[in-house]
């Protein structure tokens, strides 16, 4: 079973890397970009679990390691079974 956990910075947390990328896009002449926030994507392969269990496992993984919930939010998706 394939799954994806997406981790993003909470709103209000300054993202200097996103700001630098935003500036670089502007320098490239790529117009129409209002702002950029950088995050992380984890593609995860699960074994021997059903969809409900998979979501529980991924949520635990995100809460305990993949995300720092002081500064980050996360989203869990089971992509296919």
């Amino acid at each position: 079973m394939k799954a994806r956990v997406t981790v993003t910075l909470k709103s209000g947390v300054l993202d200097p890397q996103g700001k630098a990328i935003e500036g670089a896009l502007r320098a490239l002449g790529i117009n129409g970009v209002a702002s950029v926030r950088q995050g992380k994507v984890f593609d995860i392969e699960l074994d021997g679990v059903d969809k409900a269990k998979a979501e529980a496992v991924l949520k635990e993984a995100a809460d305990r390691l993949l995300a720092n919930t002081v500064i980050e939010n996360y989203r869990v998706e089971v992509l296919e079974s």
């Binding site: 200097p16 630098a20 390691l65 720092n68």
Partner: protein, 233 residues
């Protein structure tokens, strides 16, 4: 003072720390590998040193924070044991949740390695009794992610409860954005936990303890701790 210095893969400041602890307290610290589940019997002080544990993968300190030895450190702190985290050690303590907030990429996006000035905000703690309140010390920093952040409520509590022990300042001790090299909120360089027995700080006091290093301003922290335990004994 019986101290224990934790060692994780990728840590590189543990020997500086051990050398300083021996120099100032007179006692050789125990070096404790990250897979240990217990601290040496009779440990007074646990030090989480600086470096690049696990290559800063995922987030600085994130993987080290989940290692077996940190469970022992958490229990040690819950019993009132003193814990000092420096640089990556501060990041690790924040990642365990033992200290509030997080350390983000420096606001200028650069790794910064130079001396900074810190104002010591209080002298009535085991960590700062070797200094006077308001004293300015010069110590080195070497980090890419030292930009301290927390939500407004947490910052207000840290300030209101006197838990900011070290603050980036001008050489005269005035907090000033121009002397806050990493953009930390309120110029926060070092904070205490709620119980007052866990300190995390970005700068490296262990690197300014002998005249040959150019400054001995970091010595007060270790001398104060040694004195604290000598009096308690």
């Amino acid at each position: 003072m019986k101290s224990a210095v934790l060692v994780f893969p990728g840590i590189n400041r543990e020997r500086d720390m051990a050398r300083t602890l021996k120099l100032v307290s007179g006692q050789e610290p125990a070096m404790v590998w990250h897979t240990e589940r217990e601290l040496p019997r009779g440990t007074d002080l646990v030090v989480v040193p600086g470096g690049f544990s696990y290559g800063d993968y995922l987030r600085c300190g994130a993987i080290a924070a989940r290692s077996p030895v940190m469970e022992a450190v958490r229990a040690f702190a819950a019993r009132g044991g003193l814990v000092l985290g420096v640089c990556n050690g501060f990041q690790i303590l924040c990642e365990t949740g033992m200290l509030p907030g997080a350390l983000m990429r420096n606001s200028q996006l650069r790794f910064i390695c130079r001396d900074v000035f810190l104002r010591v905000e209080r002298s009535d703690t085991p960590f700062t009794r070797g200094y006077n309140a308001g004293q300015v010390i010069r110590v080195p920093v070497a980090h890419g992610e030292g930009n301290y952040i927390a939500d407004g409520e947490t910052i207000a509590r840290l300030e209101g409860e006197g838990r900011v022990l070290f603050r980036y300042s001008s050489p005269e001790g005035i907090p000033d954005p121009n002397w806050n090299h990493n953009g930390a909120m309120n110029g926060i360089a070092g904070i205490l936990n709620e119980a007052g027995n866990v300190l995390g700080m970005m700068p490296h006091p262990e690197n300014h303890v002998e005249a040959s290093m150019g400054s001995t301003d970091g010595r007060g922290l270790f001398a104060g701790l040694t004195d604290h335990f000598a009096r308690a004994a």
